[in-house]
């Protein structure tokens, strides 16, 4: 067996475990929480009273305008100096959630706006109130158009979790770094880490396709009923 293959096989359990223990939970949790935050932010921005809407815009502006790595450093290394001490994992979770929330809020906002105004009117005409119209009529249609861009965010997130290594979360990439520190084989180990991210994002892409098929079961384009 060639040396590189032996090395990869030897490191596989460690890397896998780091992925299962940290990368995947961090991704799933921060995406779920971030999506919820994104929905709240989008609705606040579109329908909230002026101060709430401004607050939502301010949040998106800050998060999108500053580097994710810097945000993570502020949360993990910066906040302790004002007495907020967080463990690495929760710090990363907060950082990624805020990040996902800002980006997805823009996607959801655009998707909600893309539903024709006539759909609101049709919902109101059947006697629905705002919440019912939103939940039963607008969001299901917005969900359909937001699947591709949301999947993009999700896939970016999987890869971005490697930044958590910089704030001491022992996730996949950090596990690779540690093995490199003892084996001095950076090329092999980092390629292996890259391949593992590639597998993860490929699985997600496949899920995205399935979701898109499911959402397009009602056929045609949204425009057909405009």
């Amino acid at each position: 067996m060639p040396h590189w293959l032996q090395l990869m096989l030897d490191s596989l359990p460690t890397l896998l475990w780091a992925g299962i223990r940290f990368t995947i939970p961090l991704t799933l949790l921060s995406f779920a929480l971030g999506l919820t935050l994104g929905l709240v932010t989008a609705v606040a921005r579109l329908f909230g009273p002026a101060p709430i809407s401004a607050l939502a815009r301010f949040y998106v502006w800050i998060i999108r305008g500053t580097p994710l790595l810097v945000q993570l450093f502020v949360i993990f290394y910066g906040l302790p100096s004002i007495g907020v001490l967080l463990d690495a994992f929760p710090a990363a979770l907060i950082g990624f959630t805020l990040n996902v929330g800002a980006y997805t809020s823009e996607i959801i906002r655009a998707a909600i706006t893309s539903v024709p105004k006539g759909q609101w009117e049709a919902a109101y005409s059947t006697g629905m109130n705002w919440q019912q119209a939103m939940r039963r009529t607008i969001l299901p249609q917005a969900a359909r158009v937001s699947v591709p861009p949301l999947s993009n965010t999700f896939i970016s997130l999987v890869k971005d979790t490697s930044l958590a290594a910089a704030i001491t979360v022992p996730e996949l990439f950090q596990a690779a770094q540690r093995i490199v520190a003892t084996t001095y084989e950076p090329l092999i180990l980092y390629i292996q880490a890259a391949l593992m991210y590639l597998v993860l994002s490929s699985v997600l892409s496949a899920l995205q396709s399935r979701l898109e098929v499911r959402f397009s079961r009602y056929g045609g384009q949204m425009e057909s009923s405009r």
Partner: protein, 251 residues
């Protein structure tokens, strides 16, 4: 009975409706006709308050809402009026993510809180009435415009509203498909459904309605039976308008 009293609608400086007072007795079918921009659609939408009048009074059945400039009507009052009206749109506006029968059931399930079985039975009955029972499980995107509009009519009728409002119900359809819709609306009229429709379609107005209101520049110019308005209008402006559209439709 539906009653509009002293309805005025402004958008900023523009006055869309000026002091319009009309009553629509139970079982009557009223066609609102007139040139584009004359206020037909706005007036129709004032009945179910998709458009809220700047001032005036809207009564549907036993519920009345009064409007005063600069004051918002209560959401619950608006809701009460809306729940007694059904609306059909020019572009159908079926819910594209629901099948034909689900579209008809939607209001019954969400607003009236009927059980699924009861709502499905009612929806099927209505789809039969509009001749769409065989397409109950079809998605709107796979249906013709005329079929979509007939389902939209069934959806609007589902909660047994006091009045069916139709905003240009045939304008997005070619003449053949429009005919299916006119047939369905005519049948409903014969059964005594109270209807108010804004339309350019003289065939629809003359075949289905028993009262015609001619609106121009936000004002009621002339009201009468279809015979009178279309054959011998008293007002010069009405005569001009009727002759121009009948000439166009005779081509």
């Amino acid at each position: 009975m539906i009653e509009l009293r002293n309805i005025e609608k402004r958008f900023g400086e523009a006055i869309i409706l000026k002091d319009v007072s009309l009553t629509f007795p139970e079982g009557s079918v009223t066609a609102l006709v007139g040139p584009s921009g004359g206020g037909k659609s706005t007036l129709l939408r004032c009945i179910n308050l998709l458009e809220q009048p700047t001032s005036g009074c809207v009564r549907v059945g036993s519920d009345t809402v009064e409007f005063h400039p600069g004051r918002k009507a209560r959401w619950q009052d608006i809701q009460k009026i809306r729940r007694q009206t059904g609306m059909v749109f020019q572009n159908f506006q079926l819910f594209p993510h629901r099948t034909a029968i689900e579209n008809v059931m939607e209001g019954l399930l969400v607003v009236q809180r009927w059980t699924k079985e009861k709502a499905a039975a009612r929806a099927m009955e209505l789809l039969q009435k509009v001749g769409m029972a065989h397409k109950a499980d079809a998605w709107p995107a796979n249906l013709s415009g005329g079929q979509q509009q007939r389902i939209a009519i069934a959806r609007a009728l589902a909660p047994s509203p006091q009045v069916l409002l139709c905003d240009e119900p045939t304008s997005a359809l070619d003449p053949e498909l429009a005919a299916e819709v006119v047939d369905v609306l005519g049948q409903l009229a014969r059964e005594g459904t109270t209807m108010v429709m804004a339309t350019h379609d003289l065939r629809l107005a003359s075949q289905v309605s028993n009262q015609v209101v001619f609106l121009e520049a936000g004002k009621v110019v002339e009201t009468g039976e279809p015979e009178t308005i279309f054959r011998s209008p008293r007002n010069e402006r009405t005569r001009q308008f009727v002759s121009s559209i009948s000439a166009a439709q005779a081509l």
